[in-house]
């Protein structure tokens, strides 16, 4: 026994095997929440302990890892997790969506279309879509088992009754492969159409709640709605002021306390790639000058 040494990618091999078994089961039953023995990770719950465990168990030495937090590569969460894996696994990390083979994400799907060579790992805070409607875990499991999903529509009904339209903007419930209703983690509903028929494997890990679920490649994922109130993805009616994109999901950034604001792409890699290719928005020139 000498100085403590980490196994490749932090988790020991037995733990990884256990998680991989859960992942395989999750892929076999799309949208079904598989319980697993979630481990304590060296980060607080809510920071992606579930996603990190999934990433750790699927990571190989040749993988290239990208981590995003709300679409951004340079926030604390994303930077810390990237550093964590480059230290414990020695894998190469990147901010480029195209280059990455494993992408761990918190609350966004990259704008750049994913490929069959990629795996998208979501961090999930609360995996149970019925949780706030039915507090009993025994009952929600039974409802999933018997696919009794009327209650999910009650939530959408309440939205319309109160606001005149479906006001759920994120964590919008979906039905996977026409069987299980699933919480897609708090991604904006703008991203919901990207879940369906995606060439990449999508894995969801909830560390605190100890659940793993998955959407296999090319699986149909339908957002729940009413016939007379169909699902509509939401996007601010503006262009990115840095790269001029009119099709990407936008963040609203408040620039001063006089009510001024600007819209920018939430996916930083997408925005930067476009700008490098010469695209520009209204504020692009000014922003370039301000950049260090």
């Amino acid at each position: 026994m000498t100085a403590p040494v980490y196994n490749f990618a932090y988790l020991d091999e037995q733990t990884k095997r256990m998680i991989r078994r859960a992942i395989l089961k999750a892929i076999a039953i799309p949208g079904y929440q598989v319980p697993f023995a979630s481990r304590e990770m060296p980060m607080p719950y809510g920071w992606g302990t579930g996603g990190v465990q999934v990433t750790a168990s699927i990571l190989g030495p040749d993988d290239i890892l990208k981590v995003i937090d709300q679409g951004s590569d340079d926030t604390t969460n994303a930077v810390s997790i990237r550093k964590f894996f480059s230290r414990t696994a020695g894998v190469r990390t990147t901010t480029s969506t195209q280059e990455a083979t494993v992408i761990q994400t918190r609350h966004r799907i990259p704008e750049t279309p994913l490929t069959e060579q990629q795996v998208l790992v979501y961090q999930v805070p609360i995996p149970e879509p019925l949780r706030f409607l039915e507090p009993r875990e025994t009952e929600t499991r039974r409802m999933h088992a018997l696919s009794e999903y009327g209650l999910m529509h009650v939530k959408l009904y309440e939205d319309i009754a109160r606001h005149g339209h479906i006001a759920t903007t994120y964590a919008y419930p979906v039905k996977v492969a026409e069987r299980y209703v699933m919480d897609p983690s708090p991604i904006p509903k703008f991203d919901n159409p990207k879940l369906s028929d995606c060439p990449a494997l999508q894995l969801f890990g909830a560390g605190r709640e100890k659940r793993i679920y998955a959407i296999p490649p090319y699986t149909r994922v339908a957002s729940l709605d009413f016939e007379d109130h169909p699902f509509e993805p939401y996007r601010h009616e503006a262009q990115c002021e840095l790269c001029g994109a009119a099709d990407s999901y936008l963040d609203e950034v408040i620039t001063d306390d006089a009510g001024n604001r600007m819209f920018v792409c939430s996916d930083t890699d997408y925005c930067e790639t476009r700008r490098a290719a010469g695209e520009g928005g209204r504020k692009a020139a000014a922003a370039m000058e301000r950049a260090p």
Binding site: E148, G150, L151, V154, Y157, E158, I160, A161, D225, E227
Partner: protein, 261 residues
Amino acid sequence: MNSACENPLLKVEGLTKWYGRRLGCRDVGFDLYEGEVMAVVGESGSGKTTLLQLLSGQMEPSGGCVLYRLRGGSEADVWRMSEPMRRFLFRTDWGYVHQDAQLGLRMGISAGGNVGERLMAVGWRNYGAIRQSAVDWLARVEIDRDRIDDPPRTYSGGMRQRLQIARNLVTAPRLIFMDEPTGGLDVSVQARLLDLLRRLVADLNLAAILVTHDLAVARLLSNRIMVMKAGEVVETGLTDQVLDDPREPYSQLLVSSILPA
């Protein structure tokens, strides 16, 4: 009418429930036909609620069987059918009105959502149609239209009870279980609720099993009555016959204990 009416809707044979060594109810049997209201009366602890839960498939009996005639005409044993089937029956063909409206309603969801839940559970996916159905049912149970988006938390006791009835009747059930539907309400509200129930039961040709300890409620609503004591049925018969001319000593005691108005 048609031949279906000749067969009972619900056939109960030898229904028994033991809670360990304690008796819930023993050897209860009866037939219930469409459009018929049967009251189960007896003092508290006599096994009335136990019986209701056994009948409605919420608690598994220790012995005996409950046969229900499905819409197709075939008979099914409630405890032999699959769980999805039983749960489906419970939210479509049956209704269950709890004494405490909080148990039967979702208190945080608007009245319209409460009424619409059963419709959405059976596959309604048109908001306009669900909404219209909720509006109609609230009108039928005399709740103002402009209260449709209020949660039942903001409702009075009588309104909650009426909302619970609307929620149960929206899928046009054929059989409804009522556990002390008027318990805990004041007398004038009770009268109004009874009036409403009597009308709905007649209009919809509902079969109902009504558990109550209030003989006045039984007299007003039911065609038949079953008197229970210590888990066993002591007397059954037409309501007027049992209440006006009780045979068993216990029934006589029960009837004579009503205070003269």
